[in-house]
Symmetry: C2
Subunit: 383 residues, 2 copies
Amino acid sequence: MDEHGRKEKVITITYAITSSSGEIGKIAEEIALEQTVEVPAEVIGDDRVREEIVGKVVSIHRTDSETEERCIVEIAYPVIVSNYEIPQFLNLLYGNISFKRGIRIVDMHFPPEFIRTFRGPKVGLEGMRRLIGVFDRPLVSTALKPMGRSPEELAEMCYQFALGGIDIIKDDHSLVDFPFCRFEERVTECMKAIERAEAKTGKRALYFPNITGRFERIMNNVEYAMEKNVGGLLVSPFVMGLDCVRHIAERDGIDKPVMSHPSLTGIFFADSETGIAPGLLLGKLFRLIGIDCSVFPNFGGRFSFDRPTCLSIAGALREEFYHMRSAFPTPAGGMRLENIAEILHFYGKDIILLIGGALYLKSRDLQEGARYFCERVSAACRQ
Amino acid sequence: MDEHGRKEKVITITYAITSSSGEIGKIAEEIALEQTVEVPAEVIGDDRVREEIVGKVVSIHRTDSETEERCIVEIAYPVIVSNYEIPQFLNLLYGNISFKRGIRIVDMHFPPEFIRTFRGPKVGLEGMRRLIGVFDRPLVSTALKPMGRSPEELAEMCYQFALGGIDIIKDDHSLVDFPFCRFEERVTECMKAIERAEAKTGKRALYFPNITGRFERIMNNVEYAMEKNVGGLLVSPFVMGLDCVRHIAERDGIDKPVMSHPSLTGIFFADSETGIAPGLLLGKLFRLIGIDCSVFPNFGGRFSFDRPTCLSIAGALREEFYHMRSAFPTPAGGMRLENIAEILHFYGKDIILLIGGALYLKSRDLQEGARYFCERVSAACRQ
């Protein structure tokens, strides 16, 4: 078993448990078994397994409401149960209990032994600032869309955005290797556009192609993107598999920032008593697998995150976390150009502002729209 | 664009939309844009894109309750939007709208052009029956556990279960490549146990090792398992990535049945007004990616599926679906040996009965417990 098996080497997962049965202690004990040995306690039949594998309920703190019993529960799991890997950690974190209502993961604490096995963001917030050469304002980003356009059309948009001063130009997350818009052609054309714009402005925008696609193609996409010297890679961790993304982000030779799109993840946040807190999933976990910038729905946009949720994601990406580099919070999703000052005031300057739709709405002249966007950001920073 | 772009080539997704705003028509139009072009309608600026990419709301059927507006909405998407692949289909199905409450996917209809690009289950229900040589009763299955045991200990359990007559012996879904229980050692020892038992009984049980693990190891796990001539493979699609599983299941040379564990998926079913209907996810979609037997929580166990939900999963796995072979419904999760007759009466004989914990509880003598389990099944079939 764990050869260093000292007791302090535990992963502590904190749950908010809601129940009307009055049996939260029992529910906590069941979680500790369910997520590890998956048998009733009386079946374990080996004290060593009980001691070294099963989670231990270390605290139960009542926060009852008027109508329901609610507790914050900490369970400590021997770190070996995670096998120091993402797939088994996902099983441990939420595998079987995803089928139970009234259990929400609200925190997770890792020992250094666990964190040491992950590289985390390879470029990180400071590295991205150095890449772009911008230190005193948020980075400015937009998306190439809509699906249905040809590589040449998207590359022309990319050119206009780059001329207008956008720092990061990403593919829409659903731009895959379509017959009418091949991945390799899109990357080639967009990189030509980036270089043409650079020749004119002296500033090089970063283009992030979406490498998500058929399993058989992903590594080819990565290699092709690296050959073409793209600015970074766009991934959708829950579509591709989190450990596939971790593998790409950690891989030697991949020195580009990796941006995550939260496709499919919203369901984890649909019910406030169930699921996983957004800061843990889109913040801590994505940073752990090596994400340099994590896209999430901003407050006040067309999705439903509130301000505290957005702050907790931003915090989990930026705060000190062992050796892990900070990652860029990247609020998006229906942001308006008029709100930039408010958004900066809220998050501070260490964010990437990702505005897609509103930029297309602003003007048919994308270069002009981009310039307006950049000016608004500069103006907001001067306030 | 889609060169055959005829209008009938659409994927129709059916949503149950709940709203208190009285604007379901507007919500439906927003979904059709959100899941495809991701821009407001006025920005598309190209009639061809509007026609060939954007989803079309084809019906809105009101089923209001007394307090809320509720509708069943069908949206038809040009099949090309899926790119005939799983990752982009996941974006289309639920990518961005996973962040919206009150939208539940309740059906999905595929045209033959889409289905043709997938092999589906390679062994299937009938093939598994032929492999095992059992045609007139449910298959009988159990799991090796708990985590913490050595390969030798698990192999001894495997031996006892095989002697007792179990058809399929699977790893627990969280048995990965632990230092105290290496994947290769476990597979080697368990296959020796299978062969020793076969030499004694003349019947060969199928052992399904769990191939889920670090991304870098998955293909090695598959190859090692194939070399050792295992009975089948256990996968966790949402932990590994669905398209990784599809790739393995479709791969030439992999002629073994693939069993899915639903780890992490429960969150899609936590709220009856949001998420994806279980029959679609654990049934139709898993069958599409090539799952031969789909494990799901049975009614009355320690999880929360009700009878209609279980029937709809079983239906989606077994019913005629283009060229796709039928797959085995595999109810599990706290089933009791006393309920077998009731379970058979409910599902019919074309299921795999997966009983883990209750079998370990039944007797310290696992062979005796297994024999009792098999006898209960035979007795229930004679009723």
